[in-house]
C-alpha cells in the first residue's frame, strides 16, 4: 500500500542529505565534544558548525544558541530558567503547546503567579490582552509564533514591543514556525526562542533555545560545564549535526519558493475536501498569510475524528486529530476548545499538515480517500441525518 504522510506538525521525515551529514558521527567520528584530543576536537568543530547553522536560521549570534534535547526541554528551560524569584508572574496563552502550558501550571503549583490569556475564535491572541495581563511583578511572557493545531500565526512582534516597553522578558515557542516562516529574533524582539530539529526534517532528540546575550537563565540540569553552563550533559553530536544541516536547508526552503508550493498543495487539498464534503469547515484563520503554509485543520460534523484518523490510516493516509493522552488515546484538542469550538466539533476535527516532501499525487490521494471515509463514518453513525435528506420537502 502506498502510504501518504500528512502529519508534518507531529514530525517530519529526515532528509537523506541530513542523514548523510549525521552518519560519520555515529561511526568513525564518535568523539565527546568536551575531550581535548583529536576525536573530541572533531566533535566540537561539528557542534559549533551546527550552532552557526541554527543561529543563521533565526538571525542570532551562534553563542546565543543553547542546544537541548528538543522543544519540550527548550520550553521548560525558558520557563523554569526565567521564573526563579519568588512571587514572579508569568503570562502565556491558552493555545500554547503542553510543553509550555504544563510547565506554566507546574510553576503555578509552586507558587508563581500565572495568567493564561484567551484567544479569538480563530485562535489568535490579542496583543492588548497580553498588555492588560502585565503586572509590576511580571517576569516573562511566553507566546508561540505559530500554532501546531491550526497553523494560526500569532502577533509575536507586537507582543515583543509590548514586552520591551514593559521591560519584561519574552519567550517565543517557534517550533512550528521555523522552516515555514521567515524569522529573525531581532525583529521578533524576543529574549528566548524554542526550536526543534525534527519539525524541519532533522532528527528527533535535538533542539535549541535561543537565549539573547545578557539574559540570565538558571539551568535545568546540573553537571558539566557544557553549553556555557546553561545545559549540562554530553552533546548529542550526531543529532546536532543533523539539526544544523536541516536548519540550513530549511532556511533555503523559506525563500526559494518551496513553501509557496506547499501552500498551494494545502490550499488545493482544503478546497477540494470542502467541495466534496457537506457540513465541513476550517478551524482557525484562512486569510493568506494568517497561518503556516502547510497546515489546515478541518471539522467534519457528525463523526468521531478518532475513528476517521484510524480509518484513513488503514487506507494509507496519516493525519492526526486532537492530542494523545497518556495511554495514546485521543483527547479533543485543547487549542480548539480554547477557541470556543464545541466539544463534539473539536472531536470531529482533523489536522492535515504537509511538508515540502509531499507531492501533488499525495493531495490527489487524500482527495479521493477522505470524502469516501467521511461518508462511510457518517452512514454508520446512528445519529447522522444527511443535510439534503433532512431538508427535503415532502412531495418534491
Amino acid at each position: 500500500m502506498r502510504r501518504v504522510y500528512m502529519d508534518a506538525n507531529a514530525t517530519t521525515p529526515l532528509l537523506p542529505e541530513v542523514f548523510e551529514a549525521m552518519r560519520p558521527y555515529f561511526l568513525e567520528q564518535f568523539g565527546n565534544a568536551s575531550s581535548i584530543h583529536q576525536h573530541g576536537q572533531q566533535a566540537r568543530a561539528a557542534v559549533e558548525q551546527a550552532r552557526e547553522q541554527v543561529a543563521a536560521l533565526v538571525g542570532s549570534r551562534p553563542a546565543e544558541i543553547v542546544f537541548t534535547s528538543g522543544a519540550t526541554e527548550s520550553d521548560n528551560l525558558a520557563l523554569f530558567g526565567m521564573m526563579v524569584e519568588p512571587g514572579a508572574h508569568l503570562v502565556t496563552t491558552s493555545i500554547e503547546h503542553h510543553a509550555v502550558l504544563h510547565a506554566a501550571e507546574q510553576l503555578a503549583e509552586r507558587g508563581f503567579a500565572l495568567t493564561v490569556v484567551p484567544v479569538s475564535a480563530e485562535g489568535v491572541v490579542d496583543p492588548e490582552d497580553v498588555r492588560r495581563a502585565l503586572r509590576p511583578e511580571t517576569r516573562l511572557i511566553s507566546v508561540m509564533m505559530a500554532n501546531n493545531e491550526t497553523g494560526a500565526i500569532q502577533p509575536v512582534a507586537e507582543i515583543g514591543r509590548i514586552a520591551a516597553e514593559a521591560d519584561v522578558y519574552f519567550h517565543v515557542d517557534a517550533v512550528q514556525a521555523a522552516g515555514k516562516l521567515r524569522m529573525d529574533v531581532k525583529e521578533l524582539g524576543c529574549d528566548l526562542l524554542s526550536l526543534s530539529a525534527h519539525k524541519l526534517h532533522g532528527p528527533q532528540g535535538a533542539g535549541a533555545l535561543y537565549v539573547r546575550r545578557g539574559t540570565r537563565l538558571a539551568p535545568l540540569f546540573y553537571g558539566g560545564l557544557h553549553e556555557r553552563q546553561r545545559r549540562a550533559g554530553t552533546e548529542n553530536v550526531a543529532g546536532l549535526v543533523g539539526f544544523g544541516a536541516a536548519a540550513g536547508m530549511a532556511r533555503a526552503a523559506v525563500t526559494d519558493g518551496s513553501m509557496q508550493r506547499v501552500a498551494a498543495m494545502r490550499d488545493r487539498l482544503e478546497a477540494g475536501l470542502l467541495r466534496a464534503i457537506e457540513e465541513a469547515g476550517v478551524n482557525g484563520p484562512t486569510l493568506p498569510g494568517a497561518r503556516t503554509p502547510n497546515t489546515t485543520n478541518l471539522w467534519f460534523d457528525h463523526l468521531e475524528g478518532e475513528a476517521l484518523v484510524i480509518a484513513l490510516d488503514l487506507k494509507g493516509l496519516a493525519v492526526s486529530g486532537g492530542s494523545a493522552c497518556a495511554s495514546g488515546a485521543t483527547e479533543p484538542s485543547h487549542v480548539l476548545l480554547a477557541m470556543g469550538v464545541s466539544d463534539p466539533r473539536a472531536r470531529a476535527s482533523l489536522r492535515f499538515s504537509l511538508s515540502r516532501l509531499n507531492t501533488d499525487e499525495d493531495v490527489d490521494r487524500a482527495l479521493s480517500l477522505v470524502p469516501a471515509s467521511v461518508a462511510r463514518l457518517r452512514a454508520l453513525s446512528p445519529v447522522y441525518v444527511p443535510a439534503q435528506a433532512a431538508g427535503e420537502q415532502p412531495g418534491i
Binding site: L303, E304, E306, A307, I310, A311, D313, L314, C325, A326, S327, G328, A329, T330, E331, R376, L377, L380, S381, P382
Partner: protein, 377 residues
C-alpha cells in the same frame, strides 16, 4: 440470515490473556485483524482522594494493560489503535452505577458496558473503519440457527468462565457480527494457546474485580467520585429493622448495603442476620435470617430476548419454563416466566432462591441456550 461479511475483524483487546489469545487464533486462521482497545476510564482521576489508592497500576484500562495489548498486536503484526470512550463510559456505566447504589440497588457495570460500549460503540467504530465484525475474549458461544432464523447465544465449554450472564442484552444484529472464539476452550487451554503463540503475557493473572474500581471498594469509589463531581452524598442514613418492624440499629447510608449482605451490619444476635430489603424512600434496611432471605418470585423489566422470538413471545403470552440465573455466581434454578405487562415479566422459582437483588440481571436459560433476560425490579 448468515450474511456474508468481509474478512476484516476488529479484535477487542484488553491486554489480558483471553483477548490476546483471540487475536493470535484469528490471525492464524487468516483473518485480516485490527486490534482495538477501548480507553474507558482514567485510573488516575480519583487517585489520592480519600480512601482511594495514591498510586495506580496494573489494572484494566491502565497504561500497563494498553502496553501489553500493543505489544501483542506488534508481535502478531496487526494494526492496533486505542479508542477513547471515556465520556461514553462515564455516562452509560459509571453514573448509572453510582446512581443505582444511591437508590439502594446493586448494579452490574459489566452488563452495561457490554450493552453500551463493547457491543454497541465498539462495533460501530469497527464497522466505520472497515471491519464488518468484532471478536472478543468472552467465554460464550454464538451461532445462527436456520430453523428458528435466530442467532443463538450458548453457554461455553468452560462453565467456570461462563460470561453469558453479562451478555444477555445483545441484539440479533450484534450477535451476528460478533465472534467468541474462546467458547469451546477451557481457560488452561487458552493460556496454552497464548504461550504457543509466543505471547509473553500467557501467565498474566485473570482480572476479577470491577475494572474501574481499584482495590475493589465501591463505597470509597462512590464517595471519591461524588467529591470529584462536587456533588453531595445524599443523606440516606436510617434504621435497621427486623421483618417484624422492630428497630435493631442505625446505618450510615443505604448505598452501603446489598441484599444478602451479612458483614458490616453492626448487629449481633443469636443467629446471623442478612440484608433482606432496602427501602430507598424511607432509607430503611430490613434484616433477617438466612431463611427469610429466600424468595419465590420477582419481576424483571428492560427485557431482551435471544433464542425466543420476542414477537412470538409477545403475541402468545404463554408461560415459559426456564432456568433463571439471578447473579453471576448463582447456579441457574428452575422457574416459570409469566408475562405481566409490556416489557415486564414475573419469574416464579420452583424452589425459593436466596437473595434476589434489585439492580442485578436475571438471565433465562433453556438448556445451554440463553433464552433472554432482564433487570430485576
Amino acid at each position: 440470515m448468515a450474511a456474508s461479511y468481509n474478512n476484516t475483524i476488529a479484535v477487542a483487546m484488553s491486554g489480558g490473556v483471553d483477548s490476546s489469545a483471540v487475536a493470535a487464533m484469528l490471525r492464524a486462521e487468516g483473518y485480516d485483524l485490527i486490534g482495538l482497545t477501548l480507553q474507558l476510564w482514567n485510573q488516575r482521576r480519583l487517585a489520592g482522594r480519600e480512601g482511594m489508592p495514591e498510586h495506580v497500576q496494573g489494572r484494566c484500562c491502565s497504561i500497563d494493560d494498553v502496553y501489553d495489548a500493543r505489544r501483542v498486536a506488534e508481535q502478531l503484526g496487526i494494526p492496533y489503535y486505542l479508542v477513547n470512550e471515556q465520556a461514553r463510559f462515564e455516562r452509560d456505566v459509571v453514573k448509572p452505577f453510582v446512581a443505582e447504589y444511591l437508590a439502594g440497588r446493586t448494579p452490574i457495570p459489566c452488563s452495561l458496558c457490554n450493552n453500551h460500549l463493547k457491543f454497541d460503540q465498539l462495533l460501530q467504530t469497527a464497522r466505520q473503519i472497515g471491519a464488518d465484525r468484532i471478536a472478543t475474549g468472552h467465554y460464550a458461544r454464538n451461532a445462527y440457527d436456520p430453523v428458528r432464523k435466530r442467532w443463538i447465544l450458548t453457554r461455553p465449554t468452560d462453565r467456570a468462565k461462563d460470561q453469558t450472564y453479562f451478555l444477555f442484552g445483545l441484539t440479533q444484529e450484534q450477535l451476528s457480527r460478533t465472534l467468541f472464539p474462546l467458547g469451546s476452550y477451557a481457560k488452561p487451554e487458552v493460556r496454552e494457546m497464548a504461550a504457543r503463540a509466543g505471547l509473553a503475557l500467557a501467565r498474566k493473572p485473570d482480572s476479577q474485580e470491577i475494572c474501574f474500581i481499584l482495590g475493589g471498594d465501591y463505597k470509597q469509589f462512590i464517595e471519591a467520585y461524588l467529591e470529584e463531581q462536587e456533588e453531595e452524598m445524599p443523606a440516606t442514613a436510617g434504621e435497621l429493622v427486623s421483618t417484624g418492624g422492630e428497630v435493631l440499629g442505625e446505618h450510615a447510608g443505604i448505598h452501603n448495603f446489598t441484599v444478602g449482605q451479612r458483614k458490616g451490619l453492626g448487629l449481633s444476635g443469636p443467629s446471623p442476620l442478612y440484608v433482606l430489603q432496602i427501602d430507598s424512600e424511607a432509607h430503611r434496611v430490613t434484616v433477617g435470617t438466612e431463611e427469610e432471605l429466600l424468595r419465590e418470585r420477582f419481576y424483571a423489566t428492560r427485557l431482551n430476548w435471544i433464542s425466543l422470538d420476542p414477537e412470538q413471545v409477545a403475541s402468545t403470552k404463554e408461560p415459559v419454563r426456564v432456568l433463571a440465573k439471578i447473579r453471576h455466581r448463582h447456579e441457574p434454578a428452575a422457574a416459570t416466566v409469566r408475562w405481566s405487562g409490556k416489557d415486564l415479566v414475573e419469574v416464579v422459582f420452583d424452589t425459593p432462591q436466596r437473595a434476589v437483588t434489585p439492580g442485578q440481571s436475571a438471565v433465562f436459560y433453556q438448556g445451554d441456550e440463553v433464552a433472554g433476560g432482564g433487570w430485576i425490579e
